[in-house]
């Protein structure tokens, strides 16, 4: 397919990898990808990019000292539940 076609599809690739496109647009891209290696590479590397950011983002967590200061700032020290340390007496 022409280069023009690749350019025309670019803006849809993000929705395409999310599976959020209308069936006919999706089918159009599928057809194009079968014939266009460059676009296949772009789609594969786009998927891989999203995947890598997802898996390396780590679990949601707060460092313990940050958590303790958070509870103190919210006047919730009685709910900290972890081992009490001398810091807490200052609240």
């Amino acid at each position: 397919m022409s280069h023009q076609n690749c350019r025309h599809l670019l803006g849809s690739l993000s929705d395409y990898v999310d599976g959020e496109l209308a069936d006919e647009v999706c089918a159009e891209i599928d057809r194009h990808l079968e014939e266009c290696e460059n676009c296949r590479i772009v789609v594969d590397s786009l998927r891989k990019t999203i995947y890598l950011y997802k898996v390396t983002s780590g679990p949601p967590s707060v460092p313990e000292e940050v958590r303790q200061r958070l509870y103190l700032s919210l006047d919730l020290e009685e709910f900290i539940e972890r081992k009490a340390n001398s810091e807490m007496g200052k609240a």
Binding site: S14, K48, Y53, P60
Partner: protein, 211 residues
């Protein structure tokens, strides 16, 4: 390794009435995601901690008037994102270059950029793609995005919010979310292709291993 959707099992009645035990449960459930988001938007542990504290201080004050139209998580993300963007704005206005808008993509992010890097690096082993060095590069790549693109990418692809939830958090239309997400992803793809493409090329020697 997808984000598990948090089940919202909080008593709105207790939260609105200022019940501290219930509020502590809310803090425990959401402080991790809020801190992770804040850290990636403001890129500074001290500022991220301030954003975290401000978010829950403001939430506690606003809870009596929380109408429940959006979910608690969307509402918290919204407060946190506003706080984080405000931090960036303060930082910007304290520096010389204070003409750049925080909420809008920068002019060169406005246009759909054509991919320049067409390199197949997907064959690289995961251990190499997830090395400490690669992760540091990926962090840097996110930092090159304008806050407008970065927040959309983080909310959608890291925090796992839907397009609609992200639109609610940022108070923009779903079309805007999709457009910004597309630009952010394509830009990151470009940067990662530059980095990993080079490594893939080095590997593809005649006796190079393919996995």
């Amino acid at each position: 390794m997808n984000q598990e959707k948090r089940v919202e099992e909080f008593s709105l009645e207790a939260l609105r009435a200022g019940n501290k035990a219930e509020f502590a449960r809310l803090v425990e459930a959401y402080s991790g995601v809020i801190y992770r988001l804040a850290l990636k938007v403001v890129e500074d542990p001290q500022d991220a901690e301030d954003v975290l504290q401000e978010t829950f201080i403001k939430a506690y004050r606003a809870l009596p008037n929380f109408d429940g139209r959006s979910s608690l998580s969307t509402w918290l993300y919204r407060i946190a994102t506003n706080e984080a963007l405000m931090t960036l704005r303060r930082r910007k206005s304290a520096s010389v270059a204070n003409t750049i808008s925080i909420e809008e993509p920068s002019p060169n992010e406005e246009n759909e950029q054509e991919p320049i890097q067409i390199v197949d690096w997907c064959c690289l082993p995961e251990t190499e793609m997830m090395s400490t060095e690669a992760r540091a590069y990926m962090e840097k790549a996110i930092e090159t995005l304008s806050p407008a693109l970065r927040t959309v990418f983080l909310l959608r692809d890291i925090e796992g919010l839907s397009t609609q939830e992200t639109a609610e958090v940022l108070n923009v239309s779903e079309v805007v979310v999709k457009t910004r997400l597309s630009r952010a992803r394509m830009r990151l793809r470009e940067l990662l292709s530059e980095y990993f493409g080079e490594r893939a090329a080095r590997r593809s020697t005649p006796e190079g291993e393919n996995s």
